[in-house]
Amino acid sequence: MSEAVALTPRPPRRGRRWWSTGVVVVVLAVIAILLFSLVRGASLFVFEADEAVQQRDELGDDRFRLIGSPLDGSIVEGEFEGRSALYFSVRFGESVVDVIHTGSDPTALFQPDVPVFLEGRWQAVPDGVDRFAEGVNDGWYFASDTLRVKHDEDYRDDNQDRISEAEQGGR
């Protein structure tokens, strides 16, 4: 004889409901934090070298992000206030900014004419700092503690570059 079978649908297991609802809530919260951080990150004002020079008075000692390409022959390793430092000058547009970078070492891509993103602030050049090689030497420098290298979207293989150099008479 067959027994009666309960056909009433069972309510969903509470554990599963809480787990999945929790994930949805956490995801929404993290997205909100990310959007906030993006707006905040973007609010760390970004200035190309020429804009940074034009707005030096308004910027005062505000922290900002500076964009420019190191000038050929300007990169010199040295010391600044007892720490190892890189002295160089970057150009964007018509303006040049002298830089002292005291943060962690840049990657191997750091070289003349490859754009860099620097974070820091304007400072007056203190006594004891020699002139910047190839720099503008206007009494101001950008005190950088973070250096990121931006590579471009073109890809050229190493050998091809060497062939081109050889065709142009070598360096």
């Binding site: 949805v24 995801v27 959007l35 990121r148």
Partner: protein
């Protein structure tokens, strides 16, 4: 050969073998046949994996969007299952895009991550939106309501894709991420061939994943729909034997 039931078929076996061969060729092209980049050196060898995975992640999410439209418009079960499958595969590709991109960023930019970079953060948001989509699909309740909500979330999430893709052009000088090589830049010779192989291999992997994941989602639906019927009949049969 075993005949245990699975989601495999002749078509998936052909795609799978082609994907393995293409991946092997891609590895050779990336590490042996291609040259280091004049600027980036060996770091460029991640390009052949990272870029195809990133572009195909968009393809997976767009398929999820098409399936979502099919469900909202025609109540298409096929569309609903396809959207679910493509979203999960898209999440895998998106996570790998972020990981390979971070590992490429460290030796080139000098950092794994930049919170001020629009492309990076919006890609992470896209990943989280689709993780949320997958979590939403697990919330118990009425199947139609859940599928409808999920379809709307997928379509909202898709708005992020053009933002991610164009961000490097809109903020060209102010974003750390390079501009689009495939649209704006140049890549030539063997490196272009390696890129083509990357798209071929990752495209085959994506296809294999999509077919299998679609079948898994279909089976889940079958189990959910017919599981109760079968359980009842089995219980009745057990009762009749007593």
């Amino acid at each position: 050969m075993s005949t245990r039931p699975s989601t495999g078929s002749t078509v998936t076996r052909v795609i799978g073998i082609a994907a393995l061969i293409a991946l092997a060729l891609l590895l050779c092209a990336a590490f042996w046949w291609s040259e280091p980049d004049a600027q980036q050196g060996d770091a460029v060898r991640l390009f052949y994996l990272h870029v195809p995975v990133a572009i195909l992640e968009y393809v997976a999410f767009i398929i999820a969007g098409v399936g979502s439209v099919m469900y909202l418009w025609k109540r298409s079960v096929f569309g609903d299952v396809m959207a679910h499958a493509a979203a999960e595969v898209g999440v895998v590709f998106c996570a790998l895009t972020l990981i390979t991109g971070s590992l490429w960023g460290r030796p080139t930019w000098g950092t794994y991550w930049d919170w001020g970079d629009v492309r990076l953060v919006t890609t992470l948001i896209l990943l989280l939106l689709f993780v949320g989509y997958l979590a939403l699909r697990q919330v118990p309740g009425d199947r139609h309501t859940r599928s409808k909500q999920a379809a709307i979330v997928a379509l909202v999430a898709l708005i992020d894709i053009p933002i991610i893709n164009r961000s490097v052009e809109w903020w060209a000088n102010r974003t750390l991420h390079q501009r689009s090589t495939l649209i704006e830049g140049k890549i030539e010779d063997i490196n272009a061939f390696a890129t083509f192989l990357g798209f071929l291999a990752c495209g085959l992997v994506l296809s294999w994943f999509l077919v299998h994941r679609f079948r898994v989602a279909w089976l889940e639906r079958e189990v959910a729909t017919h599981g109760l019927e079968r359980a009842l009949s089995e219980r009745r049969a057990e009762g009749a034997e007593v």
